[in-house]
Symmetry: C2
Subunit: 174 residues, 2 copies
């Protein structure tokens, strides 16, 4: 599928309510569960998504749109949530994510991006030139990847509890 603004935004606007429907009010046994040392819980993943709203997607889009002399992106801090979420409840993070996402989508919509603008490039610290279109497609895919991760992390808590059915549940081991 080619990236197209309307269909992409349709996913981006659904991620906060989807996470709320999945996680709000769940016992910490689920929301703090991980896949082992150095892996992320639903709570940690939510903090990571919030960090992206603040520092990644829209700030990078602004760098591209400005087409200034230095179009290099600041690297994404994949550990920021470990201090930024400190002391915050899951319910608070769900609210924070919803507010930030709504604000960012309002900005994106207000830009009324043209095809030409979607083709403009910035400089990724590792990959080199990347287009605004690729950045926005990645925003969508990044959401979906982490939604899949939340469900997978939770499913795996029952790896033993399902007994022989484990063989029929690819989510457990794949």
């Amino acid at each position: 599928m080619d990236f197209e603004l309307t269909t992409g935004i349709a996913v981006l606007e659904r991620t906060p309510p989807a996470l709320r429907a999945m996680l709000a009010g769940l016992p910490p046994a689920w929301t703090d569960a991980t896949e082992g040392a150095e892996t992320w819980s639903p709570y940690v993943i939510l903090g990571h998504l919030i960090h992206g709203e603040r520092t990644d997607w829209i700030p990078r889009a602004r760098i591209i749109l400005a087409q200034g002399p230095d179009r290099r992106f600041t690297p994404y801090d994949r550990h920021a949530q470990f201090h930024e979420s400190r002391g915050k409840t899951l319910a608070g993070l769900l609210d924070e994510f919803a507010v930030l996402r709504a604000r960012n989508l309002a900005t994106l919509t207000q830009w009324g991006l043209t095809e030409a603008q979607l083709g403009l490039a910035g400089e990724h610290p590792e990959f080199g030139p990347v287009t605004l279109r690729q950045l926005l497609a990645t925003w969508v895919a990044h959401d979906l990847g982490h939604l899949a991760q939340v469900s997978r992390v939770m499913a795996r808590q029952y790896r033993e509890a399902v007994g022989p059915w484990r063989a029929y549940l690819p989510v457990m081991d794949r």
Copy 2:
């Protein structure tokens, strides 16, 4: 994590609203998307979950609880949704799933299962003896596996659109 009724039900009751938040009103480009021939779209997955509500989880639990002479389960028809969903809209399937799930959870709660009952066994057509506890844990894990699948199938539609970021998105190829 051991299976425990309250924490298990907390997930089961969230699956219909989670799927609704993810899918309701989305363009068919997302809801009919697959990972290739013989793989399932979000629309097909939803039909599969509905079939399970009708024929699998609670009916199998009843067989176990009855402890009759024949405790063999009817095999799960993994293709039933291809004819059962025919002519139905995604919105209609979301409603149908929510109604069936609510009814099944009402039944489950009303049973007030004891630890002893959770330890009773039925006969899986392939695995042989399985306990009610394992069946109920599998119901939860099956939901979560398919939620993960829905997000993964959607993410992969942007496999090309994300350009070089594909290398940073494990959901695309793993």
